[in-house]
């Protein structure tokens, strides 16, 4: 892989509310290289988005605060940058595509204006040139009639087109890192595939590192090089794409994979959910947040967070179940039986 773009070590982001401290992200570490795609998966409230927003220091403060960890963009520590310096990073070095294109564009400003303003801000271009570049970008992300479209308002765009415009906005300053926060969740399935294709194309063209936040394992399987599985604000397992799909070690990862619909199932087979509710982030157990839902938990799980255990090349897991026992349990799970053969 290419040059190292980002090194996150022990990131913790908490929200200090009247109800208590919401520990949204707890000691998360990961890295991202040029041209690499990192998938962050986990259910709602697992801390994926907060982790990504922390990278851009976009956590609303108050009540949110990055309480621990280092965020190194190359050799710059993002936590130590001044407000002015972090604004230079936003949109220029790290850009973000948000979940809901219907609400993420300003309704009263023209699309061209919203794309051009980032170009004017970061690339020292004049207004005319920036608008011309905006039209070219729209064309690049596959919006027909881009010359005309730059002069339109968001309400004149469909959902898929708006998301394309968001992508155009994000890549406008050729960022090193592109964060896509559930970019396809709010779109229809046919549009989803197109948007993923556009993101992939742009990554190839601009040689960016991509962080793809999603709960759609299908999307991850398609474009991610490596995956980080988050639960209750912690990384429970990370590894290369093949490792996570074919050699998963954490019971939560098993549950995620097991809950996917399968082609060989008949229509009448019910999906297999992970039973229970996600944990209350204000009252997390001091140990593994998955306790209570984990089918294989033991007494130590509740009180102590397990150390990182390296189980393969670039593959780590945090779990108290001994490795040989994990392999045994996994082999007995119905959806892993075919791999075992």
């Amino acid at each position: 892989m290419g040059e190292r773009l980002l090194t996150v070590d022990g990131l913790s982001t908490h929200f200090f509310t009247y109800a208590g401290v919401v520990k949204a992200v707890n000691g998360v570490s990961f890295t991202l290289d040029r041209k690499e795609t990192l998938g962050i998966v986990g259910e709602s409230g697992s801390g994926k988005t907060v982790a990504a927003l922390s990278l851009m220091r976009l956590i609303p403060d108050p009540p949110g605060k990055i309480v621990e960890g280092s965020l190194m963009l190359g050799d710059r520590d993002l936590r130590k940058l001044s407000d002015e310096e972090i604004r230079q990073v936003r949109g220029n070095d790290i850009a973000m595509i948000f979940q809901d294109p219907m609400t993420s564009l300003n309704p009263v400003l023209k699309i061209g204006n919203q794309i051009a303003e980032a170009i004017i801000l970061h690339q020292d271009k004049g207004k005319g040139e920036a608008w011309k570049m905006a039209a070219e970008l729209l064309d690049r992300v596959g919006i027909p009639d881009a010359e005309k479209r730059v002069n339109q308002y968001p309400f004149e765009f469909s959902g898929g087109m708006r998301q394309r415009a968001m992508i155009a906005m994000a890549i406008s300053c050729n960022p090193d890192i592109l964060i896509a926060d559930e970019p396809t969740t709010a779109l229809d399935v046919t549009i989803q595939a197109q948007i993923i294709d556009v993101i992939e194309e742009m990554q190839q063209a601009y040689e960016s590192g991509v962080i793809l936040i999603t709960h759609d394992l299908g999307v991850v399987a398609e474009i991610a090089d490596k995956v980080m599985v988050m639960y209750g604000g912690r990384t429970v397992e990370y590894g290369g794409i093949d490792e996570i799909f074919y050699n998963p070690h954490h019971p939560y990862t098993w549950g995620l994979l097991g809950s996917l619909p399968r082609l060989d199932q008949t229509e009448k087979t019910r999906l297999t959910p992970i039973k229970g509710q996600p944990p209350d982030l204000i009252a997390l157990p001091s140990g593994c947040p998955f306790v209570g839902r984990c089918l294989y938990e033991r007494p130590t799980c509740r009180n102590q967070w397990p150390a990182l255990e390296i189980v393969g090349p670039e593959h780590g897991v945090n779990c108290w179940i001994p490795e040989d026992e994990r392999r045994e349990v996994r082999a007995s799970l119905p959806h892993f039986q075919e791999y075992a053969k």
Partner: protein, 318 residues
Amino acid sequence: MITYIVRRLFQLVIVLIGVTIITFLIMFAIPGDPARQLAGKNATPERIAAIRLQLGLNRSLPVQYVKFVGRLAHGDLGESYQLQKPVLQMIWENAPNTIQLALAAVLIELLGIPLGIYSALRQYTFWDTTLTTAALIIWGIPVFVLGLFMQWFFGLKLNLLPLIGAGDNVLWIIPANWNSFASLILPAVTLGLIEVAYISYMQRASMLEVIRSDYIRTARAKGLSERKVVTKHAFKNAVIPVMTIAGIDLGALMGGAILTETVFARPGIGLMIYQAIGARDLPVVAGGVLFATLVYVFANLFVDLGYAWVDPRIRLEG
């Protein structure tokens, strides 16, 4: 855009017909007889009957209404029973003071927009709490109570400003001299202050909602400065709902003008209507209400046009 304005003007005609009917019905429903009132306490029944005949009050209500509308179509609002002056002339004489008062109040009202935005951007700080609390208290004070307080404090206690009345105007609505301007200050502040409170409170709520929206996060993620985020991305969106409220609020302003003019004994449409109601002077009441309605509907039209100017969704989908 032009079809939109034409359509609105057609609606105006319907509104005016409705308003005249309602005004007529209300004036006939309330107790008291204009003829008896005009004739005086010791009038003979014959004299009252003669006045009634003279004013056309002996005819049925629909006939009177049709005659009223017929005259109205020729620009004739009739004559005041009491003063025997054409109503149109009375309106012409009284309108400048009222329009002056309302415009001054609107100018003061606009202060609510920056105040509300300031409050929202410093949510839960000392100044936000102070402004919000003050706004809620002022908003809760009836306009005549605030007016009396203003008179007592600034007029009697401090002896700074005239208590009552109004001065001469040039160019119809511009105060001709300092005295004329001074007599405008207390009524305008009284009327405007309550609206400032209302507008700033609404503006604060609207700004708070906008500043937390997804597109503001997008703007921040581009690296824009907080100043640019507020002025370019948040301001327009946050002002749109307040403009709507301000438009609807013009009705309250007209109602407030009647009370304010009464408290400050300030000649104007409000005082004219108030006195005409007491005297059962039907043509004056009808004319005054009609005028107030016209002002209200036109003001709303302008607000809606401004609204379309700010919000492309209205302008283009119209």
